[in-house]
Chain length 297, copies 2
């Protein structure tokens, strides 16, 4: 997905929100805004929005002089999500369709996105869980998803945020975990999950976890490590969580299922949905094994 | 009121909204955004926000090549407000305190602000009227206001927007109209009222109406005509409608009553109120005749 004109004021607002969350120094707030404007002046609109996000958050970390301004909120939402874990697991066990319920909960967890909302309160988690369990949700994609996870030999699950990764664990537990590798960010950016958060979620005990070598708030393949890109290319199914991974991977030629809550009007427009809607959708070029065999013939 | 950092992304968003309302040409939308970013790069934060607004809307008019991109919405909201006029007048006549009810309605009319909301629908007018008639409203300022309009010899009523000026007429009718001069903009900017709109409201039949010689979305004294500035200096009471006039006059050493709906978080912060609140408030330095006599002694 490319940068929309609407993203430009949003970059500046996000940068200011992030600067305020990172420091009380008003001079730094102003410096961040001024430098983001300079970045925006020469913006290449053909990039995906997280390319700009990566630059903005590098700038904030440099100006604030801290490696991870979101450390505290990541911890807070990891803890809050862990407290909800057993309850959510029961929702899944008690449901008619465990996979569907796990997908709904993984989407609910995507509310923990400090790029979109830097003022998120813990109290919104349970509300979002209830909403996502009750909301209308097309099961049209569930059958192809079941088939894809059965057919795939290597599944990459690209996680999104801290806290959310605990919701993701519930979905990962419903997958054929012997085939699953979970991917986290190489280093901190916004509240995106890194290896530390995967460990808090207990993921390394049940699946392989790797990092993508990047500090991009999405999967900007050009800035990822060779090791990750190699795994990405080899995987025959990718499950990509959240807006940043949708923005950066929606035009990539790969079998991907996108799992997210559409939280911004531009992404909702790109997806053809309403803001707030639950998204569980194949990439445009998705081809299953039967298609591939046909193409080879 | 000075520019807050939060105003900067808002300038860009407003410019994009205004460009979209003015033309369907996407190249112009992008050009507007890019040029507003260049303006923002060298922004003098000690100015009031409408100084930037004036530059932005000059730019849009130049790029779109039209003198008044808001002509249609101004007509639309003049007509919609005229249709509500008799009904609103009855609300005033039937009320316990006619002046208070007229102030409430004048504040309701301030919802017609395309700088803040370029997607305003006519249907929101009646809803806002009902809300403003019912809302909690401190009458603490009513007594000093009654006294000020009685004591004053020359009252300037600085109008804000088209459509809204018909709501304003209801308040003007409750004032000692022989002392009142209504002020409109010198030329079009956003949906601000010009002489044409004052005529639609039938104001020249009941009071003197002058223009301020400026295309600033507020009262930027440095860009107003000498004639207006002279009248402004001579007036012993100013009634200033709307956000733009608050932003540009809040630090001016003058007896002013501000009458507006606080529609943006930054103005609400400056006023110490909540977004959406009805504001009817004296300027900080307001001095009535008794104070002036005391000072002279």
């Amino acid at each position: 997905m490319k940068i929309f004109l609407d993203c430009i004021p949003c970059f500046v607002r996000q940068a200011l929100d992030a600067a305020r969350l990172s420091t009380n120094d008003k001079q730094i707030h102003e410096q961040v805004v001024r430098e983001v404007i300079i970045l925006a002046k020469d913006l290449d609109m053909s990039q995906s929005p997280p390319v700009m996000g990566q630059k903005i958050h590098r700038l904030i970390r440099k100006l604030v002089g801290t490696e991870d301004p979101y450390r505290d909120v990541k911890k807070q939402f990891n803890n809050a999500s862990l407290r909800l874990y057993s309850k959510m697991r029961n929702y899944i066990t008690d449901s008619g369709d465990m996979l569907e319920t796990a997908i709904r909960l993984a989407i609910a967890g995507n509310i923990i996105d400090f790029g979109v909302n830097s003022k998120l309160q813990e109290s919104e988690l349970e509300k979002t869980i209830s909403e996502c369990l009750a909301a209308e949700f097309s099961d049209m994609q569930l059958k192809p998803f079941r088939r894809a996870i059965n057919e795939a030999e290597e599944i990459l699950f690209i996680a999104d945020n801290a806290g959310e990764i605990i919701f993701d664990r519930l979905l990962i537990e419903q997958l054929p975990i012997e085939k699953v590798t979970v991917v986290v960010k190489g280093s901190p950016v916004i509240n995106d999950a890194t290896m530390e958060d995967a460990v808090v979620a207990g993921l390394p005990q049940i699946v392989e976890v790797i990092d993508n070598g990047s500090d991009g708030p999405g999967t900007i393949l050009e800035t990822c490590s060779e090791v990750f890109v190699d795994r990405f290319e080899k995987a025959d199914l990718v499950i990509a969580k959240g807006q940043g991974n949708y923005e950066t991977l929606s035009d990539v030629n790969k079998n991907i299922f996108f799992v997210l809550k559409a939280k911004c009007p531009v992404i909702a427009q790109d997806l053809g949905c309403e803001v707030g809607e639950m998204i569980f959708r194949k990439s445009k070029i998705f081809r299953n094994a039967v298609d591939l065999v046909k193409e080879a013939e």
